[in-house]
Amino acid sequence: MHIIVCIKQVPDSAQIRVHPVTNTIMRQGVPTIINPYDLVALEEALRLRDRLGGSVTVLTMGPPTAEDSLRKALTFGADRAVLLTDRYFAGSDTLATSYALAHAIKKVAEMWGEPDIVFTGKQTIDGDTAQVGPGIAKRLKLNQLTYVSAIKELDMDSRTLTVERRAEGGVQVLKTRLPVLITVLEGINEMRRGTMEAALNAARAQVTIWNATDAGIPELTLCGLRGSPTVVKKVFAPGARTEKAHQIETKGLSPAEIAEAALAEIFQRQPAVEADVMRNAESI
């Protein structure tokens, strides 16, 4: 079977700082990582391949430096890696991103076989939209399974699979046909440690690098900023609340005394909460 995993190289958001004067992101020196949610997708793909055979292709769209993330994916055991990079892709929103990725997947299919499954993470940690996966599914007419928490059954003969999907208020057990696009939930597996052999292979491996033409993208006007219906009008830092917190006196007081004072302050500000707590306690 052939599995394609779409990943994204993202800035490590834990280390992002906002410039205090200009209110812009200070990108310099911020390390990049593979979007953590995508690693869950990659691990799930590698497990399926190890069990059922076939190959895993990792695909990303990004600047030339995104090759680092692809090499990392190869060290985990992916079989091949494709980088889609072109200035035409700069400024893509979710619609333009899914357009470019969908065409790149078609090209991957031409080169290495039709994919049975396309995986993505549930969302990225920089954009957080969770919309590119569904966009790709729609464009390639793949059956869409989002927020998948377990792949219960995969039958390559009948080309059917059964998954558990996190839904509102419960779990849906869904059965559908290949090919599918799956976005996986976090925490369903733990990324393997790459083997020495995979690391050596990764060092030798060629990352396939495509520009828009190589990837066979027909309409450049549908890529990047030009192909994006949404436009960012304004970027700003959240405003500070003018009023600082009212501090409970703590100097020289015991935790019990501080707690009493804090409770009094809380209940004075929120009498409804006090009433609720007292009533709920009685009902038990």
Binding site: S13, A14, I16, V18, N23, I25, A90, G91, D93, T94, L95, A96, T97, I125, D126, T129, A130, V132, G133, G135, A137, K138, Q144, L145, T146, R166, E168, G169, G170, Q172, V173, L174, K175, L225, R226, S228, P229, T230, V231, K233, K234, V235, F236, A237, P238, A245, Q247, I248, S254, P255, I258, A259, A262, L263, I266, A272, D276, V277, M278, E282
Partner: protein, 365 residues
Amino acid sequence: MSQAPTQKAAGGSRAGMSKELPEHFKSYKHVWVFIEFEHGAVHPVSFELLGEGRKLADKLGVELAGVLMGAGADEIRDGIAECFEYGADVVYTVTDPILSHYRNEPYTKAMTDLVTTYQPEILLLGATTLGRDLAGSVATTLLTGLTADCTELAIDDERSLAATRPTFGGSLLCTIHTLNYRPQMATVRPRVMPMPERQPGRTGRVVAHPLGMVETDIVTKILQFVPDSESDKAQLAYADIVVAGGLGLKSAENFQLVKALAETLRGEYGGSRPLVQKGWITADRQIGQTGKTIRPKLYIAAGISGAIQHRVGVEGADLIVAINTDPNAPIFDFAHVGIVADALDILPALTDALAKRLYVNRLAG
């Protein structure tokens, strides 16, 4: 790439582009809210969106409509009435046994058919697992813009939707417009917008629309639905009282102190993102921009520094109480009540003090 703003996006070639809407989009009018209806009930986020949609519709001088899908007219009758009472002027309905539970294919078809037939200028959906699954498919089918997880919606002076959302994990906010395409789509997470007041007896128009699909058209089948047992799944988003811990608790064992206080308050407990990464709590208990947004009456944050990604998830709380040893922790910038002390001392003291009050109250009868 997604919607991460770039220098180019903010001031690049698109900024100078004509904002003239193509002729075929000029007839697009009115504000719509997708009403999430599952297991016999409307998801509260849909009412929150009706409240927000009402403001947008009034500003534009147009109607507010809800879109409600379900198995049959009887099943959704109460849901329709609720839509009117929470502010809708019109409710578009699509009913078919195929729609009794959410599936991407039929819901996408119903939604896109309605949009192309009745042509709304704005379409809002809840950023739930259902709403996010549906929104991406609908926007891609219609080839229009979609802004995910908005925290503020407004109409600008050119009558277009200005959708503000956090970006880079909440470090920054950006305002996004959809140029030259309709409808302008946005999703909003539960509890980000306040619940509007219900107006009993308020009513409106119902417009029924056919689905035009048969079950054999649909590849994906639902074999089973396993509801969350209420006991072990966090009901954080809609809890009135929430106690949460952060790295200041120093160990997974100490997190018990958070649970104990939450239990005494009959509230829910949660934690900041690093605790999920450390495995101290499960992901469904994460509070913040990438976890749950909460709007409780009382929020107690113990040993949480208050990074912006946490802040955007709790700002809607009526009362925020922060316990932190660092007097300069950013959490004191948005908490209402601060306690500069070690959470490991204060949490058990609060639990004891509260237990004492409850005991006295019970004696007093």
